[in-house]
């Protein structure tokens, strides 16, 4: 529980029962014994020892332990009180102690103890007088009226509580329908703290469940307005913020005294059942990107080639225009020279077939090549 009902260490029920029992316990024992031994003082001097010789504490110092023990004895003896009266006389005698003063002192101590309370850092204390709200105090040491009159309930004020809704680990899914009829698996957390201690205590019966319910409801509402693609991607942060505002609105309408610090979407994924298909979409996007890159590379290449080839032609053409005939001839011969220098050339005098240049060297080379192949 975030708040504890703290009545300075003593429950109200305890006060009525236990408080009355101990110091006043003798009083209730008195009347029952009255018939036997005549009017007896309930404060303990009635069962006076016969001889009066064994008074161990004649000096009158109040021994509290002894007092407790005797009171308890007397209470125990209440059941068979009639018969026990005589027996008690044989026991050790009670000293002549001003019990009234002791009881008064005890009462004073009790009052003193329940008149002060401490509020730790981060807490707020709500004081009620006979049940009615009287004040709220911050951290520090405070005085109040003694216990049955004023009561203090402390609230963890600064403490930021976190409620996780939906699971971030694999198995459990918190499915939700988005505005476009798709299903999203979403996990989120709501962080909240107390804004107003007395509202928090007196206005709502179950603050934790209220915050949780309101958050779930608001999340459904906001996600129900969004599309799946937006919810899993670009609008995640915006959705979280809208949910925070919505939850605050709902809780304020209850007057709950709760402040929503924030809503964090920890996970917003497509459900596992369709995850494969979603991954294929991103794979397709990468494929498409790859196609484009390849095409761009090709384009670069083609254009560079064109630029290179035309630049070369333009240069040559510039020179060609200065002396067309000679240049043309020169280029032809140079080309032929280069080409025919590398290939086997046979010159045939048509129409008779006669080889002018059956280059023996080339034929030998061919033979060598054939041998190498074998």
């Amino acid at each position: 529980m975030p708040w504890q009902n703290n009545e300075d260490g003593e429950g109200s029920g305890d006060k009525g029962g236990g408080g009355r029992r101990n110091p006043w316990g003798g009083a209730s024992g008195g009347p029952s014994n009255q018939g036997k031994d005549g009017p007896r003082n309930p404060w303990g001097d009635a069962p006076r020892p016969k001889g009066g010789d064994d008074r161990p504490r004649g000096n009158g110092t109040p021994d509290f332990d002894e007092f407790i023990r005797r009171s308890q004895e007397r209470l125990r003896g209440l059941g068979g009180g009639q018969g026990g009266g005589g027996n008690r006389g044989t026991g050790r005698g009670m000293p002549d102690i001003p019990w009234g003063l002791v009881a008064g002192g005890l009462a004073l101590v009790l009052i003193g103890m329940t008149s002060a309370y401490r509020v730790d850092a981060g807490e707020r204390a709500v004081v009620t007088r006979f049940g009615q709200y009287s004040s709220t105090s911050g951290p520090g040491f405070h005085m109040k009226l003694p216990a049955p009159i004023d009561q203090v309930t402390k609230v963890q004020f600064e403490d930021i509580r976190t409620d996780l809704i939906g699971a971030t680990d694999g198995d459990a899914e918190n499915l939700m329908i988005t505005g476009d009829g798709n299903v999203i698996n979403i996990a989120y957390a709501v962080r909240w703290r107390v804004k107003n201690a007395e509202d928090f205590l007196f206005q709502i019966a179950d603050p934790n469940a209220t915050v949780r319910d309101a958050t779930e409801s608001a999340m459904r509402e906001i996600v129900g307005r969004s599309t799946l693609n937006n919810a899993i991607g670009p609008e995640r942060a915006a959705i979280a913020e809208q949910v925070r505002e919505r939850v605050q609105e709902i809780l304020d309408s209850y007057g709950s005294g709760v402040l929503i610090q924030g809503v964090d979407i920890n996970k917003a994924d497509p459900p596992a059942a369709v995850d494969e298909a979603f991954k294929d979409v991103s794979a397709a996007q990468q494929d498409a990107q790859q196609f484009l890159n390849q095409a761009r590379a090709y384009a670069q290449q083609v254009q560079a080639q064109a630029a290179g080839a035309t630049a070369a032609f333009d240069k040559v053409y510039e020179q060609y225009r200065l002396a067309p005939e000679v240049t043309r001839k020169r280029m032809y011969l140079e080309t032929m020279e280069s080409v025919l220098g590398k290939v086997d050339t046979t010159v045939i005098e048509a129409p008779g077939v006669q080889a002018y240049l059956p280059l023996p060297e080339v034929q030998r080379r061919n033979r060598q090549a054939q041998e190498a192949q074998q």
Partner: protein
């Protein structure tokens, strides 16, 4: 001895006073409302809910009652929650939706609440029953997509109004009705939704790939066209020379391997000088 006797008398007197106080004074806390019953008949209420009342100015605190004749019943004053089990709702187009709703309520008339249902627990049971049936009725009037849409807010208002009317008879006020979850039931409806999502994604993936291929092709074609333009601009200046120039280049490239046989006629231009000058 005499002083002790006086003390005793005083003590007994005090005790008697305490007992008298205990039976004739009631402490009403801030978060409770109290009904004072006289021999079972309600005669007064204490600390009932009033809107916009500040704590400390309410009726909470000590209240006197006649001992033995009157007794008090406490009723919660706070906003309480009403959580109903998930309801399966059938839309007008025969689709199922599991709706988990909750409500928040407050007891505004404790006497009526006490007389009609007796306790908060029984009130919660009654209100849950009313709320469940109202939700089924109201949402069952709608189409499936309307159930999911943000306009659902209107039907929630209608539900709240209707439940509130019934709740007032029990002395309670419905503050808010909200849907916590609205899910497709597990099994075939959810599977169908998944299948639809899957096919939609497959279609999307196909479209993306096709678009990518299309754009790539356009880029290639544009590059080719641009190259053709550049070539034409340059080579078009002298088509005849280009033919010659390009042929020369082609010869060099084609025969670069050196593994062809070339048969030439002596009348070939290259061999013209080879035969020696014949006059002209």
């Amino acid at each position: 001895m005499i002083s002790q006797r006086a003390l005793l008398t005083g003590g007994i007197g005090l005790a008697a006073l305490a007992v008298l106080a205990a039976v004739s004074v009631v402490r009403v806390p801030e978060d409770q409302q109290a009904i004072i019953l006289q021999l079972g008949r309600p005669v007064a209420t204490v600390n009932t809910y009033q809107p916009n009342q500040k704590f400390g100015q309410t009726g909470a605190g000590l209240v006197l009652k006649t001992p033995f004749v009157q007794n008090t019943v406490f009723v919660d004053k706070r906003i309480m929650s009403l959580d109903i089990p998930p309801q399966t709702v059938l839309s007008t187009d025969q689709l199922r939706l599991v709706v988990d709703a909750f409500a928040r309520f407050r007891i505004v008339n404790p006497v009526r609440m006490y007389q009609t249902v007796g306790s908060e627990e029984r009130l919660q049971q009654e209100l849950s029953r009313i709320l469940s049936s109202r939700i089924r009725n109201e949402l069952g009037k709608q189409r499936f997509d309307a159930m999911l849409s943000p306009e659902r807010g209107q039907s929630m208002d209608a539900i709240q109004l209707a439940v509130n009317r019934s709740a007032l008879a029990y002395g309670a006020e419905i503050i808010d009705v909200r849907i916590k979850r609205a899910d497709l039931p597990p099994g075939s409806p959810l599977e169908a939704a998944f299948e639809r999502m899957r096919t939609a994604r497959q279609q999307e993936a196909l479209t993306i790939r096709a678009q990518g291929a299309k754009n790539a092709q356009i880029i290639r074609a544009e590059a080719d066209a641009e190259a053709a333009r550049v070539y034409a601009e340059s080579f078009g200046k002298d088509p005849d020379f280009y033919t010659f120039y390009r042929s020369m280049e082609a010869y060099r490239k084609s025969f670069a391997q050196g593994n062809s046989n070339v048969v030439l006629s002596p009348s070939n231009e290259f061999l013209r000088e080879f035969q020696g000058r014949r006059g002209g």
